[in-house]
Structures are given as C-alpha cells and as structure tokens.
C-alpha cells in the first residue's frame, strides 16, 4: 500500500520526539559552557612541561636534549639550550632550556614529543579552550606558560602520572645504589639501561640507531591484562 514506509518513518520520528522529553538517551546534547563532558583520562590537547617541587624554573625536568624538537612532525617546538648547567633530580648537572617555545597554532597534538622524551619532561595537557586575541604572540607559548607542576599532572592524568613517578623513583633509587656501589672498588654496573625497571626512557636514551641492549628478551614478561597501565611505550617490554 502506498505510503506504508512513510508512515513507519513518521512513527519513528514521533517516537524520538516524545522520547527526547523522557529519556536522556534521546537528547544527548551537553549544554556547554554550563555543562561539561567529563574529561576522559587519555585526552591530549597541547603539550606542557612538567616541573617537580614548587619552583618551576629549578624543578623543570627538561634538559634541552632537543630530541622532541627534532622529532616533532610540523616542527613547532623551538628550543635554545642554556650555556650553564643546573643539577637535575638525580644530582647530575644538566643543561636546561633557556628558550622553550611551542607554537600551538602549528602543533597538531600528535604526542610524538611525549613519546620520544627520555626524561618524562613534556606531557600532554587537556585544555582545549585557549582563545586569545593577540594574533602575533598569543598562540606562542613560552616556557613559563608551558611549565605546570607535577601535582597538576597527577590531576589530569592520574594513572599515567603515578606510573611515571614510580619509574622515576625507581631510577633515582638505582642511581643512588649505583653511587653507593661505586664508592666501593667494584666495576660499576651501568646505571641506565636496566631492563628490570619498566622505565620508559632509559632504553631510548642512547641516540645510536642500533638496537639498545644485547640483553636477552625476558621471557617472563609482566602480563599486561586489560587493566594495563597507560604509560606503556614502545620498547618498554623488555
């Protein structure tokens, strides 16, 4: 009978119309800016620099190795190394970035800079509403604007931050143990490329293109169940 399909369609639309007053499923609008969608933990928007402690300048983890600058696909990171050194979290004197600019009008939020950073210094922020009316410098974030504390990092990405903190603490403990062992006349074990600690960066700290360690791949890998930590990085499962 002509019109049959049309009537079915009309019934469907009417069901949605009346349903939108009754069930949340049929009215999915979130009225921004009064309401916000709850933040999904893994969201990434633009990078920021992590600093430990209270002072952003002395606590910054970045050592200006310029790896992120090289690997950034649209080349939006601009780093100038400092000429002096300051001690890092382990105590070794390291360079620090005198200038660290990210042009967020160019940045495409690909997160490659986070992946390649050996020092867990740069992470992804979750703020997307960063409007400005200064079109000449407003979207060029300098290192002061980029520096955010480790507590803030814990707030926005709890699982990731906890994993990073555990890894860094383990590395510091290992470095302290190595220093203690070096005090005795024994050949010091190399501190950095320890496969047992699931530290993401040390395996990639060596810039040589050859595969990192002539270490045997550990057969008993930590079983990564669906509740795996978020900070799994390539090359980590050693």
């Amino acid at each position: 009978m002509i019109g049959n399909g049309i009537l079915k369609g009309l019934a469907e639309t009417a069901r949605n119309f009346f349903g939108s007053y009754v069930s949340k499923d049929r009215l999915t609008t979130v009225q921004y800016p009064e309401q916000h969608i709850p933040q999904i933990e893994a969201t990434r928007d633009f990078p920021f620099l992590v600093y430990d402690g209270a002072d952003w300048e002395s606590g910054m983890r970045c050592v200006a190795c310029q790896i992120c600058e090289k690997e950034c696909p649209p080349k939006c990171i601009l780093i100038t190394k400092s000429t002096d050194k300051k001690p890092d979290a382990v105590g070794k004197p390291q360079f620090y970035p005198a200038v660290f600019d990210i042009d967020i009008s160019v940045c495409m939020s690909c997160q490659i800079c986070v992946e390649v950073c050996p020092f867990d210094a740069i992470k992804m922020d979750v703020q997307f509403d960063l409007p400005t009316d200064d079109r000449f410098g407003g979207l060029l974030l300098d290192r002061h604007k980029l520096a955010k504390s480790n507590e803030y990092y814990h707030q926005i990405h709890p699982t990731e931050a906890t994993a990073v903190d555990t890894a860094l603490a383990a590395e510091r403990a290992k470095a302290a143990a190595a220093k203690a062992a070096a005090a005795t006349p024994k050949p010091a074990a190399p501190a950095a490329p320890a496969p047992a600690a699931p530290k993401p960066a040390s395996s990639t700290a060596t810039p040589a293109p050859a595969p990192v360690a002539p270490m045997p791949v550990k057969p008993a890998e930590p079983p990564i169940k669906p509740l795996a930590s978020e900070s799994s990085k390539p090359g980590e499962t050693k």
Binding site: E12, T13, N16, R26
Partner: protein
C-alpha cells in the same frame, strides 16, 4: 463587575465589540475607511506573530526529533529567537548582483508578501470575524494565490543566476501542477455547501448531531479531499517533501539564492504566510473553521478554536518535514498528474454519490459505497505506479 457581566458570547465577539466601540469614536465620513483599517490591523499583527512563533516551534520541534535542543538561549526557552533573527536580517548588507534586473529584483519579494496577505481577506477567523464576506470567496482566494507563482518567477528570473533560474523553473512547474488538485479538492466542499462564500461554508458545518459536529472531514469524500488538499498545500508552499525549488542541498536556495538581508526575510515571511493561508482554507473547508469539535466545548471562543486547529496543522507540517526526504522533480510531477489529479476527480464523483445515495442506518450504506469507490482505484493506481518502476525492497545475497 465587568467580568461578571461578560458572557461567553461577549468573549467570543470581543474583537467585534472593540471594533464597533472604536468606530463610534470616528466621524461618520471616515467610518468606512476606519472600519477597513481596523479590520486589517489584527491580521497584519496576528499572522506575522504566528510566523515568528512558528519559526521557533519549527526549529525546536525539528531539534527534538533529531535528539537535540532547538534554540534555547534567547529569551525564555528560546522564544525570543525570532527577534534576534529579525534584527539579523534587518542589519545584513543587501547584496544585489550587478547584472540583475534591479526593479524586478526589488519588487518580487514585495509582491509576494502582498499576494500572501491578500488571501487572508476572505478567511473567517471567528464568528462574524471575516474581513470581507465575498460571495465568491474561494475563487478570490485561489486567484490571489496564483500571484505567488508570478512573483516566484520574477525573483528567479531577475537574479540573473543559473541556480536561481533552475530554481524558478522548478518552482513554476511544481506550483502550477499542484494548483489543479488543490482547486479540485475544494470543489467537493463547494458542491456540498452550494456556495463559494467561505462564511456560508463554515456556517453549514456548525451544527451538531448529539455531540459530534457536522464537519465535512467526517465524510469519506471529506477525508480524501482533506488529504489531497493538504498534499497539494504542502507543494504549493514549497515545504518538505516538495521543497525542491529551494532544494537546500542541491541548488542551495534556488530562486532566492541572490537575496540577502531583509528581502530574504520577506521571502520566508511570504512562504510561511502562504502556508498559514492554505492551512486556514483547509480548516475552513474541511475542519469546520471556527466551530468547536464537540458541542459542549462551545464556551471556548471561536477564534481560539481556529488558531488551535491551525497550530495542529502546523505541527503536522513540521513533523512531515523532519521525516521525509525530498522528492525529485519528475517524481513530484508524476505524483501530481498521475496520482493526485485522478484521485481528486474521483473524489468529486464520490461526493456526488454521497449526496444521491440512500442514507441507511447510521449512514453505513453511503460510507461503504463511497469508501469502496475511493479505495479500490487508489490501491490499483499505487500498485501500478510501483510496478512500473519496479520499486521493491530488495534482498541481498552474500559471497561464500
């Protein structure tokens, strides 16, 4: 005290009483002109206000059908949105193409609005509330309605743009083809009422048997006539699913593509006013005009019933718009000439049958015969149209 003295009759006739009171203040020589002006002003106020409310209702209704809110920021629940839209269209730059025919380009929307408003002159909005009681009211309405087609073509032609030309050609073809079934669907009512005057038509539907009204809708030829009239009215006002002339996704606004600012708003105003006018005519012809649907509801004033019925029809238009995709040009024309027109002619024959058949218990003989005569060709026609194009729901097979 005044409230106690007001009867339902007075509330029903309140606008008439106000008009008479105001007329009494005017010197006798100016009274005819004053009477005309006083009758026109409510129409000029009420229907554009209804237009404003309809735009918001449409957007909110479509939104709810699409699982979202409509406009809900401007004013309480978004009902001041038309004010914002009006300000926007008034303050936009009026861009006219350099090679356009300026005089015709300027006149087209004005003529369209005038034609749309003229149709309201013969519609009875309440008891004793008609602007002019012409004894050829229906004829006047249709005559004025065809001026709309002329102005649509003026708009499309004068813009000197290929898209608008395409849109204008389509619009003319569509409107002319659907004008015929529109008129034929109203002929049945004229036959039954025996008069072309809309006031007479409404009054002949205003009786009650028991609590049920005498509307022409409650007859088989009335139902068929109403459905055919509404389909033709949708096509006449270029509403979905017949909105190919302003096909938004193909020729992007068709004949008014080169209009901006206030003239664009005038086109929208005229389109909606035309929709209201044809719906009001449908209400007058088939739904009893200002008559209440049940006899114990007559205490509600007549104009309230008129506008309630108009709102129901508007909601129906919005519902159809939210559901159906657009018909293509040749399918649209085929539908008009091959289905709607034969059914309208058949309807006239059935109306005659109704008048001359014996009534039988509860009119059952008349009902059965008329429904049979209407339904059989309808089913046959629809099957034959489908078969010719072999439109079927297909089944698919899978590899391996």
């Amino acid at each position: 005290m005044i409230a106690a003295a007001l009867t339902t009759q007075d509330v029903d006739q309140i606008f008439v009483l106000i008009k008479h009171a105001l007329l009494a203040c005017v010197p006798a020589a100016l009274q005819p002109i004053a009477s005309a002006v006083l009758s026109i002003i409510p129409i000029l106020v009420a229907f554009p206000l209804l237009f404003a409310i309809t735009t918001v209702l449409e957007r909110k209704g479509l939104g709810r059908m699409q699982n979202r809110y409509g406009p809900n920021r401007v004013g309480p629940a978004g009902f001041f949105q038309p004010i914002a839209d009006g300000i926007k269209s008034l303050t936009k730059e009026d861009v006219v193409p350099l090679s356009a025919d300026h005089a015709v380009h300027f006149l087209a929307p004005i003529l369209l609005v005038i034609a749309a408003f003229l149709g309201y002159a013969v519609l009875p909005i309440g008891r004793n509330m008609v602007l002019v009681n012409l004894n050829a009211g229906v004829l006047f309405f249709f005559a004025v309605g065809s001026v709309v087609e002329l102005s649509v073509f003026m708009a499309g032609w004068s813009s000197r743009s290929k898209y608008s030309l395409l849109g204008a050609m389509r619009a003319i073809a569509q409107m002319i083809s659907y004008e015929v079934p529109l008129v034929l669907a109203s002929v049945v009512v004229i036959m039954q009422a025996g008069s072309l005057s809309l006031v007479t038509i409404v009054e002949s539907q205003s009786g009650y048997t028991g609590i049920f009204p005498h509307w022409y809708l409650f007859t088989p030829w009335g139902i068929a006539g109403f459905i055919l009239f509404m389909i033709a009215a949708t096509a006449e006002s270029n509403r979905s699913p017949f909105d190919l002339p302003e096909g938004e996704s193909e020729i992007i606004a068709g004949y008014f593509i080169e209009y901006s600012g206030f003239k664009f708003a005038l086109f929208f105003l005229a389109e909606y006013l035309g929709m209201f006018a044809t719906s009001s005519l449908a209400i007058t012809l088939f739904l009893g005009g200002w008559a209440a649907p049940l006899s114990f509801l007559t205490f509600i004033p007549s104009y309230v019933w008129f506008f309630l019925k108009l709102l129901v029809l508007i909601c129906f238009f919005i519902w159809i718009r939210g559901t159906l995709p657009r018909l293509r040009m040749d399918q649209l024309m085929g539908f008009a000439w091959k289905f709607i027109l034969p059914m309208a002619l058949l309807n006239i024959f059935v109306a005659g049958l109704w008048r001359f058949l014996p009534a039988g218990p509860l009119n059952s003989i008349r009902w059965l015969v008329c429904i049979g005569v209407l339904a059989a060709p309808c089913i046959v026609l629809s099957f034959s149209l489908k078969q010719k194009k072999k439109l079927l729901v297909r089944t698919y097979h899978f590899a391996e």
